[in-house]
């Protein structure tokens, strides 16, 4: 599905790259200990081959084995911070390629995306959109800032599934799911970002949750009908390879309350 995002801050590339599996490669930005345990719960995993994977969205391509990892959501919230895209359940899960799991100083660690999960497979900046407007009714596509952004107009016009602040996502709505009270929750999540410095850049972004061939129905009535191909998948789509991440979370093993299991 073709979706849109509004990204606040001067590093939209780094933030979006951490939310997207470019070329089917899952970002490996942050290390999370695989064995944690306290009185509130414990983590677990199961090594699986490609045939036994359970989480397919967005698809990550790879060969050989995967590790289906499960952590108590409370632990991940402490370890990854408030921007992590975690489950509402007590356990949050992620399947990572086996080569993203390493033993370091006697402890197994899994490398996961900076915000725990990814939401799509491609993204690109929208330039010179006539529908991306600021308060002065000028085209804000090239150089919108917090001070020039007409927030309510742009939320209503672009209906973004994703709002990203300078340090990470503040709102995400799964394109395949019916959200509850989406417009109100999105507005409330975005409003604090309008308190950022007036010259903070704001970028409109296109993103896709699946590669185009995965929209094709398998002949089942349960699958959504295949939409028209989107121009975002044209050959001039920008930057096919993900930049290396500049984030270093390796030195943060998480709160001491969570001991090795």
């Amino acid at each position: 599905m073709h979706c849109q995002a509004i990204v606040f801050g001067d590093q939209p590339e780094q933030l979006m790259d951490s939310l997207i599996q470019k070329s089917g490669t899952m970002p490996a930005d942050v290390s999370v200990p695989l064995e944690v345990e306290d009185t509130g719960g414990r983590s677990g995993w199961h090594t699986v081959n490609d045939d036994h994977r359970q989480l397919g969205e967005p698809p990550a391509f790879g060969y050989g084995s995967w590790v289906h990892c499960v952590w108590p959501t409370a632990f991940l919230r402490d370890h990854l911070g408030p921007h992590a895209l975690l489950s509402d359940e007590a356990l949050s899960r992620l399947e990572v390629p086996r080569n993203h799991v390493h033993k370091r100083e006697g402890q197994w660690w899994a490398q996961v995306p900076r915000f725990f999960r990814t939401v799509g497979v491609r993204w690109s900046t929208v330039y010179a959109s006539s529908r991306w407007q600021g308060h002065s009714s000028n085209d804000a596509g090239d150089g919108a800032t917090v001070s020039s952004l007409d927030l309510e107009y742009n939320l209503a016009t672009h209906d973004p599934n994703l709002i990203v602040g300078p340090t990470g996502p503040v709102f995400y709505q799964d394109p395949d799911a019916q959200g509850h009270n989406v417009a109100q929750r999105r507005f409330e999540a975005t409003l604090p970002l309008m308190e950022l410095p007036a010259n903070t850049p704001v970028t409109l972004v296109n993103w896709h949750d699946k590669e185009p061939q995965l929209y094709v129905s398998h002949g089942s009535r349960w699958n959504a009908p295949s939409p028209e191909p989107c121009t975002c998948f044209d050959s001039d789509y920008d930057r096919p390879y993900r930049r290396s991440s500049g984030f270093d979370y390796w030195s943060d093993p998480g709160p001491a309350a969570w001991g090795a299991g």
Binding site: H46, V48, D51
Partner: protein, 209 residues
Amino acid sequence: MSLTAWLIGDDTESILDDLTASGGHPRAQIWIPLESTTHTSSPQLRRYRSAWAHRTIDGEQWVDFALPADTILETIGAQALAHPKALTYGKALSSDVQTRDGALMAKVPRYFSTLATQWTLEQVGQDPLITRSGRETTCTTVGELDLKSSFRKGRGEPDLVIDHRGPRLLRRDKGRYYNVSGWKEPSRVMTEIRQLPPATPIRCAWCAD
């Protein structure tokens, strides 16, 4: 979510009952260990380790868990409705989680998973059975069933097929049925139905959350 289930043979309603969590509360029927892992002296990553965590919803205290297929297979048996060679998720009220003989255990439904909160034999969904005479029905026999038309292979197969061996659930993204012991192709499921005695009753049920 709505599921279409086929009940094949006599006394299969009780199986559907055990797959139903009335009021959202799974039945507490069988004790299963919550803390299992593969033991190895190898420096390699162990194949699995179970996970669990507490949570509170609407004033009720629950334990959510993820258990490996080996543990479910050993405790419940091959008829358990769980992912083969992977983790399967479940939940139990905290009152159904106890330390027994030094091991943390949870009391789970007879087939480990539940799929719905209610079910009915009245046609409330689509894709009923079709007889050899072309009539739509919710109840017939294997001998009278137009299996190919009823199964709607690739278009609307039954989500759940229940016979005396227990339930198998269709995973639509893989196009195959499964229980904890493994995967089964729809064509194999159809062949097994075709080989049953003609007088075997077959009914269609609809399950809902």
